[in-house]
């Protein structure tokens, strides 16, 4: 919590709601979905978190991830690009999905980029 709120913040007690940004740490608990470096450069395009209810300290969650989509893009200032969308689900002890996260990462190769053309 200190990373987001600054030092000296009181942690929630057992069973109390926890801030949603705990997902950033929990995502790291899943098997990391290391994408192959298909193209020379990469850029984070977007990321998001969704919650069906507040998460609570002490509850046990099961994390699963998948590569949800890959799309190609040609042209623009990034040249040739591949967009990878990965999604992670967080299920509680009853098996209900309680939170989701997603991110879109672009790998690109500017070798064929055209100057002055918007992305």
């Amino acid at each position: 919590m200190d990373i987001y709120l600054g030092e000296g913040q009181a942690a929630p007690g057992d069973g109390e709601p926890v801030p949603g940004f705990v997902l950033a740490a929990l995502e790291g608990e899943s098997d990391r979905m290391d994408l192959p470096d298909v193209l020379p450069d990469s850029l984070l395009i977007s990321n998001e978190w969704q919650f069906d209810r507040p998460l609570r300290l002490g509850e046990e969650l099961t994390v699963s991830g998948r590569l949800a989509d890959i799309t190609e893009r040609f042209g623009g200032r990034f040249g040739y690009g591949l967009y990878f969308r990965s999604e992670t689900e967080f299920r509680d002890e009853s098996g209900e999905v309680v939170a989701r996260s997603a991110r879109t990462l672009m790998q690109y190769d500017t070798a064929n980029a055209r100057d002055g053309e918007s992305a």
């Binding site: 987001y4 949603g20 940004f21 950033a24 995502e27 984070l44 977007s46 990321n47 998001e48 978190w49």
Partner: protein, 139 residues
């Protein structure tokens, strides 16, 4: 002033949050997520990418947007959804401001919810992140 489901109106602004993420904060975030691209902590690696300084990770900025919305909301509800579209890099030790404006207030699944347009603005006043949040009120 505390927020409530009845008091929120379309066009209202959330409380702006001004922050200056520093290198220590970024390194701790990298450790928490176990993700260590050099341009987050090594200024020479950042300069080699054409950046004037080390970068603030995008996922950290998503969490800071979450914080801004949650602090404005207080005990009135919870954040259902937050999304960040990254437009330009933010550099450590430079101030940024998180701004938000209520775009829509509505009922869904028997609950009162609000959509919020969110922006992170850098010290030049340029948007580095555009995003949105959805909050759900408890009552």
């Amino acid at each position: 002033m505390s927020v409530s489901a009845d008091s929120v109106r379309e066009g209202d602004a959330i409380t702006p949050l001004q922050l200056t993420p520093d290198l220590r904060q970024v390194i701790r975030f990298c450790g928490m997520t176990w993700n260590f691209p050099a341009f987050f902590y090594d200024i020479e690696a950042a300069r080699a990418q054409g950046m004037p300084g080390t970068l603030v990770p995008g996922p950290l900025k998503l969490g800071l947007i979450y914080r801004a919305v949650a602090e404005w909301l207080g005990d009135a509800g919870f954040v259902r959804h937050v999304r960040a579209a990254h437009r330009r890099p933010d550099i450590t030790n430079r101030p940024m401001t998180i701004l938000g404006q209520i775009a829509r207030v509505y009922e869904e699944a028997g609950r009162r919810r609000a959509d919020i347009d969110v922006t992170i603005q850098n010290e030049q006043g340029e948007p580095s992140v555009r995003g949105f949040a959805v909050v759900e009120f408890f009552h």
